[in-house]
Every structure is written in structure tokens, then in C-alpha cells.
């Protein structure tokens, strides 16, 4: 029974049928079998947040979910959010504010930030910090990231930063 199992799911809106070994986590499945390498693998035990993706609309750690658990689910990765234009303004704000340097944490950071912005129109800096507390960044010192999320929230409310 350690043999590959069939799974069917949607990834970024496209149907995927695949065979996966039970031990393969969702992050490795996305990266190695589907070649969606925007999902990054950092700590592999749920601490760093670099592997954050959306499953059925909610953010999860893809290193803490088995690929076989996504049977029938809809998975969205940074490639999907990026290509659809859903987070174009957030990405632009990250660029403008220098909210990234090496970029390793950025996909997870963007997905976690978008998750907050979808739920709350007016998050203050404390709320932004709280929501992103599970995502490590070792370059920026976080201030610029908070700035970028804050100005995106303001812009989406129709305010000039």
C-alpha cells in the first residue's frame, strides 16, 4: 500500500489527475510533479510559512498536508494568484516598497497578506503583523512588508496612500 495512489484535484483552476506516493507532501507534489516552483520549501515542519498555498480558498501550510489529502480539492498557488491578476496591486506595492530582497518568503507572504485583505478591509498595522506572524522573512525586517500591505489595503478602499 505504499505504492502511488491516484488523486484528482484542481490546481489554479485546471484539473489535475496524478499518481502520488502517500508520503509526498503537497509542497513537493506542486514543485516536483507539477513544476510549480513558486511554492517554496523552507523548514518543512510548519514554522516558516514559505510553502503557504490556498486549499479550497483557505491558506494552509503545504508542507503539513499530504498530496493525497487534496483529493477533490481546489489548490491555488502563487502562480495562480499571480497569473489571474488577483494580487497585481499587492505585488506592485511589494516592489515599490522594497518589501522583498532575496524573495524566498515572498510567495507565502503575498498569499498570507491577500488572505487578510480578503477578510478585512481596514486592518491596522497590528492586525497585519498578527496575520503575517507565521511567515518568516530574514531580509527585510518586516517594516516594508507591513507598509506594502497597509498601502494596498488603503488603495483598495479607494484612499490615496
Amino acid at each position: 500500500m505504499t505504492a502511488p495512489l491516484p488523486i484528482s484535484l484542481h490546481v489554479n483552476g485546471e484539473r489535475v489527475d496524478a499518481q502520488v506516493l502517500p508520503r509526498v507532501n503537497l509542497a513537493d507534489f506542486l514543485r516536483e510533479q507539477l513544476k510549480l516552483t513558486g511554492t517554496h520549501v523552507g523548514c518543512e515542519h510548519g514554522v516558516c510559512g514559505a510553502c503557504t498555498v490556498r486549499v479550497d480558498g483557505e491558506i494552509v501550510r503545504s508542507c503539513l498536508m499530504l498530496a493525497v489529502q487534496t483529493q477533490g480539492a481546489s489548490v491555488e498557488t502563487i502562480e495562480g494568484l499571480s497569473d489571474s491578476g488577483e494580487i497585481a496591486d499587492l505585488q506592485a506595492a511589494f516592489r515599490d516598497r522594497n518589501a522583498l530582497q532575496c524573495g524566498f518568503c515572498t510567495p507565502g507572504m503575498l498569499i498570507a497578506a491577500q488572505d487578510l485583505l480578503k477578510q478585512e478591509a481596514e486592518p491596522d498595522r497590528e492586525r497585519i503583523r498578527e496575520h503575517l506572524a507565521g511567515n518568516y522573512c530574514r531580509c527585510t525586517g518586516y517594516q516594508a512588508i507591513i507598509d506594502a500591505v497597509e498601502v494596498t489595503a488603503q488603495a483598495r478602499r479607494g484612499q490615496k496612500p
Binding site: M1, T2, L5, L21, P22, R23, N25, D28, E44, H45, G46, G49, T52, E58, I59, V60, R61, C63, L64, M65, L66, V68, Q69, Q71, A112, D115, E130, H131, A133, G134, N135
Partner: protein, 293 residues
Amino acid sequence: MKASAFSYARATSVLNAIELLVAHGERAKVLSGGQSLMPAMNLRLVAPELIVDIGALRELRGIAVSGGLVKIGALTRHADLLKSSEIAAQAPLLRDAVAQIAHPAIRNRGTIGGSLAHADPASELPACMVTLNATIVAQGPAGERRIPATDFFTGIYETALSPQELLVAVELPAAPKNSAHFFCEFARRHGDYAIIGLAAQAIVENDRLTDFRPVFFSVGDRPQLAKAAAGLVKKAVTPVLLSEVSKALSEELDPPEDQQATSSMRRHLAKVLLARCVAALLGRPDLDTGGAM
């Protein structure tokens, strides 16, 4: 690191899950939200031969309130508890505790049953179950078994569950009128494992505490109800009395030393938490002395 190889079975019903557990015993592990099991497997701290995935058992998910009892299905996620108006009204201690569990992405997957069955001494929900006098409902080959939370946690990652049993639900009494609760934990960063924490509930009448249940976590191998706190019950609490009780609490606790804190630091923080707790429950900021006692 990556998890070692294992077989995988998606349980189709509670009975099917129990059949699998009976057939494979300790070689099997139940996968619920996976937010504790998956890290442990990725770090190769555990290497089960078979994973029994109960994630598709919808009947194990949900919150129901009736006759003064709150029943929470094992697969109810931390995110569900946090958003639930029933929990906010009937078990507000849980809402406050869940807000301290890890981060949104973890709370979207982690479940109450998984957290309780995992029984990490630093985790929030086991302590809350002891505070609230919850009953853990387990199902096994011989049928249903109801275990008081006070008997359920037996050691580090150890519970009263047998390898053939599945935790299916918890039941807790709805918070009585004029009850007050307190939840606080110290961690180096919001969402990290607690250095020490306190989950408490009490009835407050005429500025006195009755039915006071302060339960500390991350002070030993399981949640610990502070017996010394009985000295505060039905009494007019003065700084002197609180100081005496704090001293007794200090003698009662024998917290471990680890990378996060020494034993004496945990003892000190326990006193700080107790003072904050009593001050908050009684609405007496003067009693919160910051542990200087």
C-alpha cells in the same frame, strides 16, 4: 526533512477507521488536521506504517449546543472554534485560547480532536478541557467510552486512549451565568509554543470566587490544576492572601527546565499569571502585582 514511507487509508466511516485501528494497532496513526503529526513525521520523530486519514468524516465536524452542554466534533478546526458564535457565547475561554494557537494557516487545518489526542503539554486545548471539566468521547471496538478530561491526559504525548480508539467528540458544560474566564500564555513570539500558560474559569459572586479552576500548561507532563488556588475560594482576596497562595503555588509546581526557560523562571511566571488571573476575574487591578510577591 521528509516523512518516511507509509501506507495510507482514507477512512470512509468512524467504524471503518476503528476497523483499521484494530487491524494495525500501534503501527497506525490517525491523521486529522495533521498540524502536529505532519511536523513530527517530517522530522522523523514518528514513522507510522499506516496513516488512517479521518479528514473526510463530516459527521465528526461541528458544534452543537443543547441542554447546557456544548458538544464539539473531533474534526472541528481551530478556525471554526474561533469564528463560532456558539463558542463565543457558551465557551468563551476556548475562543480566547484558540486565538493563541499558532497562525491562521495552521488554525485552518488543526483540529480540536487532533490537539487533544496529541496531548502536547505545551498546548492550549488540553488545559482548557481540564479547566472546563470536559468529557472526552472515544469510540472503539467495544463501543463508546466517556473519559473525564482530568483523567485523559496521562503524560507527554500520552492519553487514556488505546491504540484501537478514536477520539470522536468532546462535551463541556456551557459557561454558567456570572462565570468569568481568563486565558493567558507567555511565548517568545505570538503563536509559538507557550513557555507557560494559564486557562481559568470561575463563578464570581459578591466579589468572591467560587468553582475556581486555574489550570497551568507547559509546567509539567500534563495540564495541572493549581490546588493552592483553593485558598482563594469564597474569601475576600487581599494582597496578603494572594501572596500566601502564590507561595503555596510555587511549592506545588515542579516545572521542567528546557531551552525556553529554567524551572525557576516558570515558577515566577506562574505567580505572575495567577495574580493577573485573579485580578482580571475579580476586576481588581490592584491585585496584579506583576509577580513581586
